[in-house]
Symmetry: C2
Subunit: 433 residues, 2 copies
């Protein structure tokens, strides 16, 4: 096939992802042409510093510091520079100059997604972002295309490899958070400043993107409830294991269809107890997985490496092939701007199950008092286990039925000041059972 | 949005899948129009007997026995009647009359796929078949689109729910094959005649489809090596568990890149030992999962319900939305006819690990004799466990390193006639470690 159309591809960014994208574009040129129906010509690579050291050999003559000129006349613009600006401005410029966009930039999409999708829809451009969530694991395309005739009700995702690595090792080795974090930093699985991962800022961005797509609405990043894993102790891990659970940092996106005031969504990221037999419980190491509950399709899970330059580049290339096909076919992109604006409920309004661990005086009547306070607070007990601890005190591990978070919090507050509870050891949500 | 284009959709078949497709088309009409950019008008439903009882309420006036007339003028033809003919003829007619095809028919694709894809490519039609493998689990689209810029090296799939249900219960309950099969039949998980499932004809069709797509080649159904699960005993299950494995019916599709005579593929379906910690080992009940190893993306797994009318209908609807978008945009379908014709190697040529279980005389020197025969046959021992059985005999469980199947078979033949081996208890392949 020699009379293929030629498409100009502009690459913005040449970090760990960008350099791999450039390498794969050249290495697989023939297959990419075969599958996309177009010769993909890498027209240039916009970087801040052309002389910086790179992971892969990149032709020096393709490098430019002038992204804006590179974008002009490009058919496909791949944005893998990350960050909010100038990424957002370049993407908007590219859309308005007629290019299709492929991006791996979760921060930009979680923050400026609505603006970008609107701009794309106005000119009929496509914006693809498989690489923005869970690297090479296909999750954006399945949600957007495969489930286009279905209705997603809930997503539970392990979408941050660093925190899964830490929690997995804490679980399997009985190690401490700090100890494993230091190890992860040494091995390159965690940054020197691990805040974005361990405080779940990264997972919150991905949750906003997944929920927006799955529920065809716009979830602002600031509406995502976010709790990190720094408070998870060895003791909590051990207790979880004993009770048949494992603690995972979950991004939970939930459609709330039955509310009196109309449909709403809940989007939250926190460490939660997951039953050992749930498929998410066997996601180990730096792997990611996204569990999707759909009305007709039932339960699906997508699993794989959630990070890595090469893995992310694979997802980018898949999007590039689709963008090339679309660019040739003409017509308009898939379109994500026709979105609802479903309210995102506050964390106090969510309904889930909880495990409350209390240290109490080992006296007659204490359990009755605790049970009474729970019952008064509209928190129904599913399971309870009492063990006498070394100090002569007793430990109560209470599993609740479904309860409203606010009721649960108020009830735990009353327990704490009840006189019979020495200490609230932990309160954890239970997901996936 | 009121000025949407109207697309005529013809449905061929109203069985468990077709009736759900018809129901979802009506139920989700607004969302489907929103996501596809077209009003999808169900123009008619071709059935053999309009008066047969149906799972869902289908409008009697849409029913017709004249599929050929229905197809004329249709934009999208959904074929969910199953079987080879008249399905193949209708699909070819539809392609040549300008329709895009959505099908769930694995038998037809495994047998006549090349002919159908060629016909579609000649007129620029699209043929979508997400529902043909693993129901609602997105696997066709990820292989075709998400990994379009990558290179798939290997697929291991649990693609038959009935056999996974049987093997899973045998593993978890220590039950017998016959006992669990009878139960599965009672529960509707297995047919009255279970041959297609337990003899792996169904899995072989799916393996041919997956391998053809993943390696961009044409794998004829008759080139797929096929072994069913009827020979799997409680004893083999127990031994597998003891050794840290579980037995799963696997569809293995492998790219053989390093052969002296050029690239080839291996496509085989058989019960194999899978390490307990492998993600495929935790696929329980009637669920399916497909594990994909790609050069850049690394290891991915796709998991979910692999059967069911509603689940399959979800996959069909996703394809219908994509077909509608494409039909409106114009241009040509993805195109699968430009395929290589990679040779499919015979089962004797594959290379994998094996577990060989032998009953031997409990005498000095027997292990040395056995080890010598293995070594002479180019089969290298990785692990060996000897246990004395009740009858005064000994049992040898030998795990091999990678070996060529033909070498292994010849060696096992020599062991059987060596005089020191009383009985070859089992020979199982090991996959996924």
């Amino acid at each position: 096939m020699t009379d293929k159309r030629r498409l100009r591809v502009a690459l913005l960014g040449a970090g760990s992802v960008g350099s791999q994208v450039a390498a794969l574009l050249r290495e697989h040129a023939d297959e990419l042409a075969e599958r996309s129906g177009a010769e993909l010509e890498l027209a240039g690579i916009a970087v801040r510093n052309p002389d910086a050291p790179r992971n892969a050999e990149l032709p020096r003559e393709l490098m430019t510091t002038d992204a804006e000129t590179l974008i002009v006349g490009s058919d496909i613009v791949i944005e893998v520079m990350g960050g909010l600006e100038p990424a957002r401005s370049y993407v908007l410029q590219a859309i308005n100059s007629g290019a299709d966009i492929v991006t791996a930039n979760k921060a930009m999409l979680a923050t400026h997604g609505a603006e970008i999708f609107d701009a794309a829809d106005q000119v009929g451009a496509s914006v693809s972002y498989e690489a923005a969530v869970a690297a090479a694991i296909p999750i954006i395309r399945p949600l957007r295309d495969s489930l286009a005739g279905d209705r997603v009700n809930r997503i539970m995702g392990i979408v941050n490899g660093t925190t899964n690595y830490i929690l997995d090792r804490m679980d399997r080795e009985g190690a401490d958070f700090g100890e494993v974090l230091a190890d992860a930093q040494r091995l390159g699985y965690a940054e020197a400043d691990p805040t974005a991962d361990v405080e779940a800022y990264d997972a919150a961005q991905k949750a906003a993107i997944l929920a927006s797509l799955a529920f065809h609405t716009t979830v602002p990043l600031e509406a995502v409830h976010r709790e990190g894993i720094t408070g998870i102790t060895k003791g909590m891990m051990d207790a979880a294991r004993h009770a048949g659970y494992v603690i995972k940092l979950l991004a939970v996106c939930e459609r709330l269809a039955d509310r009196a005031d109309g449909e709403a969504v809940s989007v939250r990221v926190y460490p939660a107890l997951v039953p050992r037999e749930h498929p998410l419980a066997s996601v180990h190491g730096v792997n990611n997985a996204v569990f999707v509950e759909a009305a007709a399709a039932g339960n699906l899970m997508f699993y794989g490496a959630g990070a890595g330059g090469l893995q992310t580049a694979s997802a980018v290339l898949g999007d590039v092939v689709s963008a090339a096909r679309r660019h040739i076919a003409g017509g308009v992109g898939v379109g994500e701007s026709a979105r609802a604006h479903l309210p995102v409920v506050a964390i106090g309004e969510i309904v889930t199950r909880y495990q409350v661990t209390l240290e109490v005086d080992d006296q007659a009547g204490v359990l009755a008092t605790v049970a009474g306070i729970l019952s008064d607070g509209r928190v129904s007990i599913a399971t309870v286990e009492q063990t006498v601890t070394e100090e002569g005190r007793a430990r109560l591990v209470i599993g609740t039925h479904q309860a409203v978070e606010q009721d649960l919090n108020e009830t735990v507050g009353r327990l704490a000041t009840s006189g019979v509870v020495e200490r609230v050891v932990s309160v954890l949500r239970v997901e996936g059972d």
